[in-house]
Symmetry: C2
Subunit: 122 residues, 2 copies
């Protein structure tokens, strides 16, 4: 069986939509997703899982109810389950997300117009 | 609760040992580890889990029984559970590993002198 090498730059070149996480790899029941973000996302919570954000290019921030953080290229953060958060990026950012498969991008904000379908591989 | 931003470059600056994966983040029951590698590792298999390698800097390869792959900066691969493999790097490489917590770096090669302790955070 030939193992497939996944090139991040090549994967990002394949889409330009914002806030639409694409799956690039699966690891047991976890998925590695990449997403382009710009502007403000919606406030939401993942009640059942932690979520990892890793900045590949650009700069992003995450607002929490009582503070916010800034993430630059090469920086990551784990948002614990149950913690309300809102990602944003003023100038645009390429982000890698790690979380279990089947997690909705807008979490408990099920009626958001930013809710994107799951399991879209690229 | 203030969420902690994890800076990869800063984490790598804190150790220089080879083949000694350090934990930098935990995501549910999964861990994000970073490791410096150079030379050849040992042939081994993780019987219960897939393992993801993501090259942060430099170049590495992975030998499988019937072929080998080369991974450059920005490239990743998922080694499926049960697949024997041997990582190597001629000139040295900084690598991020994603896998469940508690996984031994040498897998079923339990008597290897390259076996490194688990849960060493940096």
């Amino acid at each position: 069986m030939i193992k497939k090498v996944i090139n991040l730059k090549e994967k990002f070149s394949k889409f330009h939509e914002l806030w639409s996480p694409k799956v690039i790899a699966e690891l047991n029941d976890y998925q590695i997703k990449i997403v382009r973000i710009k502007g403000e996302f919606t406030w939401h919570t993942h009640t059942d899982t932690d979520e990892l954000f890793f900045v590949i290019e650009g700069k992003m921030g995450i607002e929490f109810p009582d503070h916010s953080v800034e993430l630059n290229k090469g920086e990551m953060i784990v948002v614990s389950k149950g913690i309300e958060h809102k990602p944003f990026s003023e100038y645009g950012c390429k982000v890698m997300i790690i979380e279990p498969g089947g997690v909705s991008n807008t979490g408990d904000d099920v009626n958001s117009n930013l809710t994107y379908e799951n399991d879209v591989w690229i």
